[in-house]
């Protein structure tokens, strides 16, 4: 990554004005994935001085600032299990101290563990100009105009669960699964290798019926059949876990 010009605005209004007025402006969250890209960035807007770093509990759930790090998610006891669990195997602690939730969302990375968990939790994104957008809509359609993600709201759930298959600890997922239970079950599968998609069900006991709702494909990491077999194992784990929820 090369940067021609760098800006570190102190308020969101300035950041947005730079974003819309400067040609080819790039927003920097944690900066981990940007660093790995072989691109020259003419103008970088760093969001690290905007104070988007808090996790707040609200009456209906909680709100995560866009610049909250994955490590903050990992160590905050108020975060539901499904989301807290999903960050634990993402690279090492040092990277998780830099990588942000907002960066994970805005990258729309198909391999993302964070997105799979947030999709299961029916998260809502809050943008500076566009306002609120459901996460699934954003993943499918993206944004039509440049905007800045301020926070992610997650409604309260009764239980949540995350499970992934990685070849080694800290690697990318070959397939990942997250389930959240409010009144119904929301099942989200990611790294299929497409980005996370969710379905809502009354029951998850029929593993085959759940699997049939997802489209597994082949890429250089794994074949479609292998992904489906892994997903079946992850779902069986989830069914076992959900039995415990019923007995609580």
């Amino acid at each position: 990554m090369k940067i021609k010009e760098y800006s570190n605005p102190r308020n969101i209004k300035d950041a947005y004005e730079q974003l819309i007025s400067r040609e080819k402006a790039t927003i920097m969250g944690g900066g981990v994935f940007l660093k790995l890209q072989r691109r020259t960035l003419p103008f970088v807007i760093d969001l690290s001085n905007l104070g988007l770093t808090g996790i707040e509990t609200t009456p209906t759930g909680f709100t995560i600032g866009a610049m909250v790090t994955l490590r903050q998610i990992e160590t905050d006891a108020s975060i539901p299990d499904g989301l807290r669990e999903c960050v634990k195997q993402i690279a090492g602690v040092a990277v998780r101290n830099m990588a942000t939730v907002g960066g994970s969302v805005m990258g729309r990375y198909p391999f993302s563990d964070v997105l799979t968990a947030l999709v299961a939790l029916n998260a809502t994104l809050a943008f500076y100009k566009k306002g609120e957008v459901p996460i699934s809509e954003f993943l499918d359609q993206g944004l039509e105009k440049a905007d800045i993600l301020l926070s992610i709201s997650v409604p309260k759930v009764k239980h949540s669960f995350f499970q992934t298959y990685k070849k080694v600890y800290t690697d990318f997922s070959l397939v990942n699964l997250s389930i959240a239970k409010a009144d119904t079950y929301t099942v989200s599968m990611g790294a299929t290798p497409k980005h996370a998609k969710a379905i809502t069900l009354e029951s998850i006991d029929d593993v085959r019926a759940v699997l049939d709702q997802f489209d597994f494909q082949t890429d250089r990491r794994a074949s479609a059949a292998y992904r489906r077999a892994l997903a079946k194992a992850l779902l069986e784990d989830a069914v076992e876990e959900a039995k415990k929820w019923k007995s609580l």
């Binding site: 660093k35 602690v93 800290t170």
Partner: protein, 151 residues
């Protein structure tokens, strides 16, 4: 761009390119404990602390670190020596290239939790690679250090 860095408690005024990383700035300033490994946030040998949190210096922009507290192994010599002695006693020092990054990561863990379990240690060190693959010996050394410290 002009930047003020507070490194191991001392102020430095430096001029940095917009895409210069702390790894390069720190080495230029003589902090040679900060090693360049993969240069892609995968190996942990360049780990330092910024505001008390362990981060990969290869991905941390120097301009972003303006007026922030940076700690390298040079600033934590006493503590590092104490831990490293146990790792060395297990023959796990080997080429030594990963040691500064390992120690910086470990000391970040100790800042959060003075008495971690070995499971917690392994979880914390998962992002630190050792090219001599001396993990078992390193873990033995750290386990002994923790035992002695607790006693």
């Amino acid at each position: 761009m002009e930047v003020t860095l507070i490194i191991n408690g001392n102020r430095y005024s430096v001029s940095a390119e917009p895409d210069e990383m702390l790894l390069n700035t720190l080495r230029k300033l003589g902090f040679k404990s900060v090693k360049k490994g993969c240069d892609s946030t995968s190996c942990g040998v360049c780990n330092i602390h910024v505001d008390g949190k362990v981060v990969p210096s290869c991905a941390f922009l120097t301009v972003r670190a303006d007026h922030r507290e940076i700690t390298t192994l040079e600033g934590l010599q006493e503590r590092a020596k104490e831990i490293a002695a146990y790792v060395t006693a297990e023959g796990a020092e080997q080429c030594g290239y990963c040691s500064p990054g390992n120690l910086m990561t470990l000391m970040a863990l100790f800042n959060e939790n003075e008495n971690p379990t070995m499971e917690e240690v392994k979880h914390f060190l998962a992002g630190n690679l050792c090219r001599c693959s001396g993990y078992e010996g390193q873990h033995r050394g750290i386990a002994k250090y923790l035992e002695v410290k607790k006693a």
